[in-house]
């Protein structure tokens, strides 16, 4: 007990808030991933090729976002929280619109080949997944200014985000879909992003 208290005392409130925010980001990201994949399976089909394409497109977007986020983080070292806030707002915006965008996508690709559908689905998912991927290096760079140890910065943020992801997977698999439909679940995720963005905005203002 003493050990936990002493450890918590080492974490400042802004840092703890950041971990909580990144936990929520991870939670909403997994809700999006599960629900969007489910929506795309409806258009694509549920054979393994389709499932693999969709999962890979998702990961590919996160990867590109990771590269972009790293480059931007080095250039805007004093505005990292503001960047995070803008990204979370943008993800929320896409989230709210996504059911309509996906429906449009379904209409456009109704009789397209698998290759064309795969390319279009990449373009569709590129925007939110690149944004999600960019948050990791941006926040690591921000937190590393406090820790001065990459291993600790990465480990702490990754822990918070992945734990949030696990909670998001729990919500989507065992809670949300028992009481609402896919669009309802998406709206919950988008609202979580808005909450994170607003809190990051407050933190950025205090920091200034």
């Amino acid at each position: 007990m003493q050990s936990i208290r002493s450890r918590l005392s080492l974490i400042s409130i802004p840092l703890l808030t950041l971990y909580i925010l990144y936990f929520i980001s991870g939670c909403s990201a997994l809700i999006y991933q599960v629900i969007w994949q489910r929506m795309l399976f409806t258009f694509f089909g549920v054979d393994l090729t389709s499932i693999t394409i969709i999962v890979s497109v998702f990961m590919f977007g996160l990867g590109i976002g990771g590269i972009g986020g790293g480059l931007i983080a080095d250039r805007m070292q004093n505005r990292l929280l503001m960047l995070y806030m803008i990204i979370e707002f943008a993800i929320a915006g896409f989230g709210f619109l996504s059911p309509y965008i996906f429906q449009l996508f379904a209409t456009i690709t109704s009789s397209s080949s698998e290759a064309v559908t795969a390319i279009l689905s990449f373009l569709l998912l590129a925007f939110p997944t690149i944004l999600m991927g960019a948050t990791f290096p941006i926040l690591v760079t921000h937190v590393n200014k406090i820790h001065q140890n990459i291993g600790h910065s990465v480990g702490g943020l990754y822990f918070a985000n992945t734990l949030g992801g696990a909670y998001g997977a729990y919500l989507s698999g065992f809670v949300l879909l028992y009481g609402m439909d896919l669009v309802g679940a998406i709206n919950i995720a988008a609202n979580l992003n808005v909450m994170v963005a607003l809190t990051a905005l407050l933190m950025f203002r205090r920091q200034k």
């Binding site: 291993g151 990465v154 669009v183």
Partner: protein
């Protein structure tokens, strides 16, 4: 040089982790009958393992520690664990603790590998100075690249050439080799320990490779009889059991399980009718001249074989998502011969996609022997949107029938789209004309009697009692079903809810199966 190795370590961790997640989804999902909750469970536990593994790994990130040695040791431990864990799970698969046991094993699998995540970042980016964002992103992207390629490699290639247990052994070997490479970076080797680890790994791998390739699947599969055939491919796992039951000196037909769920039997004899073939045979009485038939789902093919015996049939399009059934059918030549019938056209594809990409095809009969309503992705075949798509492919006075597998919501959905939708046993028979009159007409029995299989009448002389029994089965109306359903199935206006692409109610809200 060290930076490149850190990237490789990060890549490998992503590759191995996500590949093993795919394998665990396959094994745990199969054991738990492909319920959507089983996939969610694996995802949750895997993410928890990754989270706590990363949190533990960061403790090692101090310069005094021998990080390569730690990484190598973790990977060696992980490789032994990866090799043994599916077998430990199989020992508990038939017990009530299989979910807990599976969860624990999946957690440890993810935990061990993700310990390397902060270590790889530390080794690849800690001396980056002001370029820390860029350095972190490179190690992170290497991890994402591995996590992207791992599932593709596993799903598209490995699962089509190796069985599930062999795939587990393959990735255990990769982890072992990577572990050795990490120790090599931290040279010099402790030769004796290295030799001991290598010999143990080779012996264990040898044991896995020499035992029966599908032994693991047989261990976790339901006990529905003596398994005679296991077909594994990337699309799924099919197990066929010898049916020991003999009733009135007649075998009842082998039992087919797809994804560890009952999928049908090989019986073709209406007098035995162990697989409810009356549900397809009565269709011959409901359409005057069914020339073009669509079957969504082939399974072992007994229903297709029966359909080839219907008079007037000129073409049958069959859509099956899993090519593994073609292999399974080889053991049943009589059924297999249906695929050589020039009227039969088999399409290996997703049903919905095939219908969407063939908008001009029209049919007189559409038959869909759907799997259980609570399995993952069944919404794609039971939803209002899918039924509407099927309806677009139906000729005037065509008949559509599909298995509700006991879901009142699946039945309700058909009644919202077709004027005449009634339950025949657990099948909906739906059309826009009153087909019940045909079923009860005088000529109905003779239409069933006209079905021929391999140029012989399907019904033996003196089968009129059986035929009449098929034709006089009571039909269920939606009003009757709704009045019998308990309140928890009701939505508003005291009515049942319809299945849509968005609400997934058969898989979640009204699923009768929980982990």
């Amino acid at each position: 040089m060290m930076i490149y190795f850190a990237w490789l370590l990060s890549f490998s961790m992503g590759f191995l982790s996500l590949s093993q997640e795919i394998l665990w989804i396959r094994l745990f999902g199969f054991t738990n009958h492909s319920m959507p909750q089983a996939f969610a469970f694996v995802l949750i536990v895997f993410l928890l393992g990754i989270a706590f593994g990363a949190a533990s790994g960061k403790k090692a990130c101090t310069k005094e520690w021998a990080l390569w040695k730690i990484s190598g040791t973790i990977l060696l431990v992980a490789s032994f664990f990866d090799l043994m864990s599916p077998w430990i799970y199989s020992a508990f698969a038939q017990t009530s603790s299989q979910v807990f046991c599976g969860g624990l094993l999946i957690f440890i699998t993810a935990f061990l590998k993700s310990m390397l995540f902060p270590i790889a970042h530390y080794m690849g980016a800690d001396s980056a100075g002001s370029k820390v964002g860029r350095a972190v992103s490179r190690v992170y992207v290497a991890n994402i690249a591995g996590a992207t390629l791992g599932p593709i490699f596993t799903s598209v290639l490995l699962l089509n050439i190796l069985t599930t247990q062999q795939c587990f052994a393959f990735y255990a070997t990769l982890a072992f080799l990577l572990g050795l490479s990490c120790l090599r970076v931290n040279a010099p080797f402790n030769q004796r320990k290295l030799m001991g680890a290598s010999v143990t790994a080779i012996i264990m791998l040898g044991v896995v490779l020499t035992i029966e390739p599908s032994g693991l699947i047989k261990d976790v599969a339901v006990r529905a009889g003596e398994p005679t055939q296991v077909v594994e491919n990337s699309q799924g796992i099919i197990v066929i059991y010898k049916n020991p039951a003999i009733i009135n000196n007649k075998e009842q037909g082998d039992i087919v399980y797809g994804g560890n769920v009952y999928d049908g039997r090989t019986n073709l004899d209406p007098a035995i009718n162990s697989n409810g073939i009356n549900r397809i045979l009565v269709l011959s009485a409901l359409h005057d001249k069914p020339e073009h038939v669509l079957m969504i789902g082939l399974s072992i093919g007994s229903w297709l074989k029966l359909m080839t015996g219907f008079p007037h049939v000129k073409s049958i399009d069959v859509i099956e998502i899993n090519p593994g059934y073609l292999k399974a059918m080889q053991a049943y030549p009589k059924i297999l011969s249906a695929l050589s019938d020039p009227r039969v056209h088999l399409h290996i594809d997703d049903g919905r996609r095939w219908l969407r990409t063939h908008p001009d095809n029209r049919y007189d009969l559409v038959v869909m022997n759907t799997t259980y309503f609570w399995r993952a992705y069944t919404t794609n075949l039971l939803s209002k949107e899918f039924l509407s798509l099927v309806k677009l492919h139906m000729n005037p006075r065509a008949i559509f029938t599909y298995n509700t597998t006991g879901s009142p919501n699946a039945f309700k959905t058909a009644t919202t789209l077709f004027k005449y939708a009634y339950l025949y046993e657990n099948f909906v028979i739906a059309a826009d004309f009153d087909w019940r009159k045909k079923m009860h007409s005088e000529g109905a029995a003779s239409k069933l009697a006209a079905i021929r299989l391999d140029n012989k009448p399907l019904f033996k002389p003196g089968s009129s009692k059986i035929i009449n029994g098929f034709l006089t089965e009571p039909l269920g109306s939606i009003q009757t079903v709704e009045s019998l359903m308990p309140p928890r199935y009701k939505y508003y206006n005291n009515q049942l809810e319809t299945v849509t692409d968005r609400n997934l109610i058969t898989e979640y809200r009204y699923s009768e199966h929980r982990l």
